[in-house]
């Protein structure tokens, strides 16, 4: 057990899985010689060679198409899209082919897509998005959004081992800010299982990714409200039972996410709560999300756009007073 950053934990998981399984190879822009835009794969080409750590041309379409084909031929590709935003270039390969191939032809497509996502650093509209909700709507895909170093490593290994296409949303804001104890051995964190980040009795916050820490800070600001924070970890499939169990306990719930509001995954969670835990609710389920605009560049605007600790505090206060 050693203390690692979120970024180191991802590297650790990748490296162990590559050592464990020769079918695993990496492909992405500048991931080889340069070690990746965020240095997740620094030193990988030296260890595994340029055939297992492939520098791709500047074409997400080629990366996703190549990875899908390699997976169908029996390999276990891990494709890095330098920014999650650019996954849209490969939509057709991912959504039309990879997600449906098993249902259409019985061929597994075990690809893992590493998707550096999230804002908070003035990256503007092309380098800051959290597009997980778009893909949570696609049957055949899996989406994971780890918040802690331990889960980042465990979910990376689980994603590579999974026979389905798995989108691994790694939050850029957490790369070097979050540190935690990470087991040294190779282990998989089950996809689709939530984690109770903090136990509480009065209000549940369901969230994932970097917003887990926003929720934690907000909860710490309110001494008189006992807040339970549920880190969903996976949003497709998502741990409905854990959410419903927590709602049954607290009867009040906030769904917090960094993605935009309309059609965001929080809506799915809120709707499910209304359908399945209606008689346990003591207040309307409340969403705290980004605004329905592209991500602004200007720091003051981006702050206004992203859910802030104060927004969560206000929502907690509103629900606790309800």
């Amino acid at each position: 057990m050693a203390e690692k950053t979120y970024l180191q934990a991802i590297s650790d998981g990748l490296r162990q899985q590559m050592r464990h399984d020769e079918r695993v190879f990496l492909i992405g822009e500048d991931i080889g010689v340069f070690g990746g835009a965020f240095k997740v794969t620094e030193g990988f080409q030296e260890e595994f060679g340029s055939w297992r750590v492939i520098d791709a041309p500047l074409s997400e379409t080629a990366i996703l198409g190549g990875a899908t084909g390699a997976a169908m031929m029996g390999l276990r590709p891990v494709a890095e899209l330098q920014f999650a935003d650019f996954i849209s270039c490969g939509w057709d390969h991912l959504v039309t082919v990879a997600a449906k191939q098993h249902w259409r032809a019985g061929t597994a497509v075990p690809i893992t897509l590493r998707l550096p996502s999230g804002g908070g650093f003035s990256g503007g509209p092309f380098h800051s998005q959290n597009p997980e909700s778009s893909f949570a709507h696609i049957p055949g895909l899996k989406c994971v959004c780890p918040a802690t170093p331990r889960d980042a490593k465990g979910l990376m290994i689980a994603a590579i081992e999974d026979p389905n296409p798995v989108l691994f949303f790694e939050h850029k804001h957490l790369y070097r800010r979050v540190k935690g104890e990470v087991p040294d051995e190779r282990y998989a964190t089950p996809i689709g299982e939530a984690r109770i980040h903090q136990e509480g009795r009065e209000v549940t916050i369901v969230t994932w990714g970097a917003m887990v820490y926003t929720a934690e800070q907000a909860a710490a600001e309110l001494d008189d409200v006992s807040v339970e924070i549920l880190d969903l970890r996976s949003i497709l499939p998502w741990d409905k039972e854990a959410v419903l169990a927590s709602v049954r306990k607290t009867s009040k719930v906030i769904v917090l996410h960094e993605d935009t509001r309309t059609g965001g995954f929080g809506a799915e969670i809120a709707a499910t709560i209304a359908e399945e835990a209606f008689e346990d609710l003591d207040a309307p389920p409340r969403r705290v999300t980004a605004l329905d605009t592209p991500v602004p560049f200007a720091p003051v605007l981006e702050t206004a756009f992203l859910p802030q600790v104060a927004d969560v505090v206000a929502a907690l206060r509103e629900l606790s007073d309800y």
């Binding site: 009867s251 209606f278 008689e279 346990d280 609710l281 003591d282 207040a283 007073d321 309800y322």
Partner: protein
């Protein structure tokens, strides 16, 4: 024995927001041959009574819900088959021969009859109390909001959530409030009462002390007692009847009225202002158009229609009279759903049907709408939706000759208009030359009773002034 199809008679949905009904009277007995659409029984909600027709022809094989019992919409009330009662094709003999349909059946714990078959029942048994309670919260739009979890917990413990002091926003009862009530109540209540309280008590149960039913009914009394204890009403001590006294159970409607009147007085700060209105012009116009309205439309242009027509126009200028206090906010509306108090059963009951979007009606439409509602109220054809959603109410005790009154506001509205007898009086008027003279005029009093929390005296008075002005200056062309 015949093996034809068995038809189920279910509690009908009598309006979008009504989820239960009470069987008030069975019109046919087990063993009777019934034809399709023939009335089988009478059911009652808190506001509306209606008859349930037979879904088909056959023999009434069994009655599953006894008179006086309240059950959810969709609950099977009876079965109609082609064979004789108790025919062997019945999968489960519910032992519902005639013997159980009398008062003895009402003495059974209600669930026994109300849940004929757990497998076929639309709702599982343990859902009953919660749903019943939710429905109770819908009796009027006035009731404070009860969250789903509070409704469920309250129902599970036989507690009336409206009688708990709320610590939430606007006095809302929170989950915490109801749970602490449950905790507080737990040690004092024997478990048998708890069980009993879970079942909704038959609403028409004869109160203890009434001429006793043929057989004493301990379980029923226990249930009723538990409900009373839980709802914390203070029941006066039971006294033996003296000579010349008699006791009769309150009807469902009576209970509803009693509860609403008390609650309204507990809610609103009632103040009444009155104004005298010279109705001579209206009277003259009414005389002129009466025959045309009757021959062309079959409608009587009543004074009430004139008042209603002038009222909706005046409400536009004084929106808080047509408003509602909702929590700490004031809800105003661009429409008027006008309620009319209609007395029933020789003055022993009252219903307030609502004319929706009355602001869009001219005099003819208003007269027609009022006549329709009054007719349907008298013939018990109103649907529950006809008596909900009112935003302002007119009550007309003047039809009995009274001159003044102080009505109670229909919650959550903010005011109620009272109209009184139109009486010819010697009246001081100014003639064209500015000379005062005494004339014979048709004078009517109007009262506005308003919620002083929202409506100030000056505001209410100006509404009355404008309303009176409209009526006094009614022109031939004003419709």
């Amino acid at each position: 024995m015949a093996t034809g199809t068995v038809l189920e008679v279910v509690m009908p949905q009598m309006g979008v927001s009504v989820s239960e009904g009470t069987v008030t009277r069975w019109l046919r007995n087990v063993g009777d041959t019934v034809s399709a659409d023939e009335s089988l029984l009478e059911v009652s909600t808190d506001k509306v009574d209606t008859e349930v027709p037979s879904p088909g022809a056959g023999v009434l094989q069994e009655i599953l819900v006894a008179e006086g019992q309240t059950v959810l919409v969709g609950t099977v009330l009876a079965r109609i088959g082609s064979g004789a009662p108790g025919a062997p094709e019945e999968p489960e003999p519910f032992a519902a021969p005639e013997a159980e349909i009398g008062p003895e059946a009402a003495a059974e714990p209600p669930a026994a009859a109300a849940q004929p078959d757990a497998g076929n029942s639309p709702r599982p048994a343990d859902d009953l109390p919660a749903s019943a309670l939710l429905a109770a919260g819908e009796n009027g739009p006035v009731q404070r909001f009860v969250s789903p979890v509070v409704a469920r917990i309250a129902a599970e413990h036989g507690i009336d959530p409206t009688r708990i002091a709320g610590s939430g926003r606007g006095g809302r009862v929170t989950k915490k409030d109801v749970l602490s009530r449950v905790e507080a109540a737990a040690p004092t209540r024997p478990p048998v009462d708890h069980e009993a309280a879970q079942e909704p008590a038959p609403l028409e149960a004869a109160p203890p002390g009434a001429p006793p039913p043929p057989k004493a009914a301990p379980p029923l009394e226990a249930a009723a007692a538990a409900v009373r204890a839980a709802s914390e009403t203070t029941t006066p001590p039971e006294e033996p009847l003296g000579p010349g006294e008699s006791l009769e159970p309150m009807s469902i409607m009576r209970r509803g009225i009693a509860e609403h009147m008390r609650r309204s007085l507990d809610t609103a700060a009632h103040v009444t202002s009155a104004i005298e209105v010279d109705m001579s012009k209206v009277a003259a116009i009414r005389e002129r158009i009466k025959s045309e309205f009757a021959s062309s439309y079959g409608v009587n242009p009543t004074y009430l229609a004139f008042v209603a027509r002038a009222t909706v126009d005046t409400l536009r200028d004084w929106p808080w009279i047509n408003a509602e206090l909702r929590g700490e906010a004031i809800l105003t509306r661009s429409y008027v759903n006008l309620g009319f108090a209609v007395s029933l059963e020789g003055g022993k009951g009252l219903i307030v049907p609502v004319l929706r979007h009355a602001e869009g009606l001219n005099l003819l439409g208003m007269a027609r709408g009022i006549a329709d509602l009054a007719e349907r109220a008298r013939t018990r054809k109103l649907l529950p939706d006809d008596v909900q959603g009112g935003t302002f109410t007119i009550t007309n005790p003047g039809s009995f000759g009274t001159l003044l009154g102080t009505p109670i506001i229909s919650q959550p509205q903010s005011a109620i208009l009272g109209t009184y007898a139109i009486v010819k009086r010697p009246w001081v008027i100014s003639d064209d030359g500015g000379q005062d003279a005494i004339a014979i005029r048709s004078i009517m009093n109007l009262t506005l009773t308003y919620d002083h929390r929202l409506v100030d005296g000056a505001y209410g008075a100006q509404f009355l002034r404008d309303l009176a002005g409209r009526l006094q200056s009614w022109g031939e062309a004003d419709y």
